[in-house]
Subunit: 321 residues, 2 copies
């Protein structure tokens, strides 16, 4: 199939591109390089079935022309930084996520493209009423990022119904892996960076009791490819994660151990969440995907241990919160 | 309090304005008159505590200046037509509902306004998994209108959390009442209009088995005012409706009876929903609002009978789907 990946130069997108090329698909990566990197695509550039376009999703004309003949869209592009900092514009996520997604959907419609997979997030749920969080849990996002992703989901749900498309919405846990991303960095890059600067003291955002689900990037891609092949729903919504969570405190221990540091003094900013809009504790229920036949091979701790090793050894880091 | 009502020249907004003035509040109606009418405000214009501004929510400068000193915003403005017609722009709801709502929230933030009530809709739920639909039911909108309202809810949820506001989200059943609105007309105005043209034949959109919850406009306003006074939640989400539904077939009988017509030939377009994006059957569970202490006095049939009487007698009609 001829496939287009938005955000295909990112951590997840570039590994997905490799997997799809290996499966024999023709892949077009569409990325504005605002957080992705051409270096992620080194293994693919020059291959016959691969093409890279540097362009923005807000540039509708370019987007529309590149959707001609496409059969399946993987829409992964987004402003990846979930943190809202006072003083920043409040419409960053509205523009780069919601409006950009509308553009993708509308350009698909104009080109007769009828199949889409979308990278959503655990952040659509907000503060969970109960753990673990199933796909039917109410969505009350507490961040502008989560709100924009929920808006995208609603648009996809409407387009799917109105034009009889086939759509997949994947709500990701925290995805960690081998590729670098400084912008919107994860807790792992935050800790490694701080300890490289000062190995005696570590500032921890929040009270350290935050605990979230982590999944390796290659497992995330495996899960998506599995769901797209096996699910028969016309609008398929899946949590993608493992069955447990890992505390920020424990992550700091793993980082220090991997870096060979002892007696690091911890200082806490003290709030329940790490930043405004942070959901302090969540576990995504993976049962729906488990029932379909896919299960994560690594739990949160194993995923983080592997990701930390990458970061520390190669100083090249992890992906998407 | 000093209150601003967006969409305050509409059916619901104008009755709300009257109620708030009666309670002693200072009311500013902000409306672009795209579907509202100044005539709805006849009883208020000239009053000391009342002011009307004809302006658009996409005009951020005007909006921002009118939010100075406001203490509470009732955000009711929206593109009221849930129907998407092939050939129409697909971003009408995105612009007029989602982006407009973002503008309201951002201008509130800049002016230090921290309290909001928002008119949402049963359409956020999509096709219900079970009836009646509680507030925790998953939201999978099947219309662009529903998607845009869900996006607004997400934005409100995020702003509420980030800036510690107090927000109310009211998910309306089909609201019917005494005031006219041709654009995005309800099934009642549709039937009355068609039968005035040809009293022997009635085209019914769908198969006639669609069945929805109806509520009188004055009861809707009563419910909102009650919830705003009594609820202590910082983000309060309430269905506003009665406990039952009424079929389109039965509405056609009520209209014909009220108009004194007999032996009208019914013709059906035949689809399950009346139009693309129509949710054929829903009942909003009103239990959360009931527990707070408010209960509708009219069921769906009583509400429709009263609204039909208005439409037929005065040729002035009902409100919001």
């Amino acid at each position: 199939m001829r496939m287009l990946i938005t955000g295909g130069a990112g951590c997840i997108g570039s590994e997905l591109a490799e997997a799809l090329i290996q499966q024999g698909h023709e892949v077009l990566v569409y990325d504005n390089l605002s957080s992705g990197s051409v270096a992620h695509l080194d293994a693919l550039i020059g291959m016959e079935n691969f093409k890279f376009v540097e362009a923005d999703l807000l540039d509708v004309g370019t987007l529309q022309s590149h959707l001609q003949g496409v059969e399946f869209v993987w829409h992964l592009a987004a402003n990846p930084d979930i943190k809202f900092k006072p003083g920043e514009a409040t419409d960053k996520d509205l523009q780069q996520n919601t409006v950009a997604t509308y553009n993708v959907l509308e350009c698909m419609r104009r080109n007769g493209v009828t199949a889409l997979a979308f990278a959503s997030t655990s952040a659509v749920y907000g503060i969970p009423k109960q753990l673990p969080i199933s796909e039917d849990h109410p969505c009350r996002p507490i961040s502008l990022y989560g709100a924009s992703k929920l808006a995208c989901e609603g648009l996809i749900s409407a387009f799917q119904n109105l034009f009889d498309w086939r759509c997949f919405i994947f709500r990701f846990a925290n995805i960690v892996g081998s590729k670098m991303r400084k912008r919107g960095g994860t807790v792992i890059t935050d800790f490694v960076g701080k300890l490289q600067t000062n190995p005696e003291r570590l500032e921890i955002l929040g009270n350290g009791n935050q605990a979230k689900s982590y999944l390796l990037c290659r497992e995330c891609i495996d899960a998506m490819l599995f769901a797209v092949t096996k699910s028969s729903e016309r609008l398929a919504i899946y949590n993608i994660g493992c069955h447990d969570s890992l505390s920020v405190e424990r992550i700091s221990e793993i980082v220090e151990q991997t870096m060979g540091l002892h007696h690091v003094r911890h200082e806490y900013t003290g709030t329940e969440g790490g930043w405004p809009g942070d959901v302090p504790r969540f576990i995504l229920a993976p049962e729906k995907l488990n029932r379909l036949g896919w299960r994560a091979l690594h739990n949160s701790e194993q995923a983080v241990v592997e990701a930390v090793r990458f970061v520390v050894q190669r100083q090249s880091v992890s992906c998407k919160q």
